[in-house]
Symmetry: C2
Subunit: 149 residues, 2 copies
DNA sequence: GCTGTTTATATCGTTCACGATGCAAAAATG
DNA sequence: CATTTTTGCATCGTGAACGATATAAACAGC
């Protein structure tokens, strides 16, 4: 019966869960000075790529539903990073736009990816190995998305 | 200046974050019938390996602090899965023990790892590739733990 | 043994994450 | 064009996570 699969040590998902949590903690030194959280950073990444998007489009990119997005965006609006205006074509939509302040954070965020890489992956030589995880994670995410839909 | 590192598509951490979230969602079909959440499942994994542990020991294995553990364990106690008694040697400690009900869930959880594997990783042939992520995730977790301490 | 420090736990406040539900606008259907 | 369905967003409640802070017990140094 017991083949050891129920041991924490053998749990792939626990590693995923822990790595994700600890990773968010590692962002703190870089995000705290900007006054934002990791999910808020993700929203900004999406908006820096393309400004003025409806809530649902941002949610699709981040794979988050509106019940998560709405309060998140409300906090960001309160912090002066974005504005949420009504859509003109589709009046149900809320168009999320960067404020001057939200746009200005882009410059300050420039070195975050590089700094995170340096902080975490000490040996530059191992970088290639880690990058091999990307297609696997993408594959996993795709499978999980189908599973959860 | 803009080397594309601030694009969502190039974010390793976003993949980690998303995969962890979606993975927890994929556990729902298996954990809901047991009336537990994923973090509660992790606590049970630790207790099924060894019963009667102080809060801090469980926390160390899950890499969670007491400000997360205490409310989590309180909910599990309320649900009748565990009891929390005072330590005898060290009266500061709270010894967490499985109830009959908590122990009984072990049998019902036997097939969860296997079912999750089947549900997510469709091709059996790709299993080996995914398992190669484990040492990399472990390395990442160790680096992040040092970083966050 | 007394005092300063560390350890184990708890509480509070804030932010996420998400299931469930509601509502109005848009789209699809007959 | 009227009715049904879908879509976009919001709200509520619950369960994490986690920083900050508190408290009492254990421990260490003198």
């Amino acid at each position: 019966m017991d083949n050891g699969q129920l041991k924490l040590e053998n749990q792939f998902c626990f590693r995923l869960y822990s790595a994700a949590r600890l990773m968010m903690g590692a962002y703190h030194p870089y995000l705290d000075p900007l006054g934002i959280t990791y999910p808020q950073y993700l929203v900004l990444l999406v908006l820096w790529e393309q400004d003025k998007q409806p809530v649902c489009d941002i949610g699709k990119r981040l794979m988050l539903d509106t019940n998560t997005m709405t309060p998140l965006l409300q906090r960001m609006e309160k912090a002066g990073l974005i504005t949420r205006t009504r859509g003109k074509k589709d009046t149900r939509q809320r168009i999320v736009s960067l404020t001057k302040q939200g746009r200005a954070l882009y410059e300050q965020a420039q070195h975050i990816p590089e700094n995170m890489r340096k902080a975490v992956m000490i040996p530059e030589s191992k970088m290639e190995e880690f990058l091999q995880m990307i297609p696997l994670l993408d594959q996993l995410i795709e499978a999980l998305k189908k599973l959860n839909s």
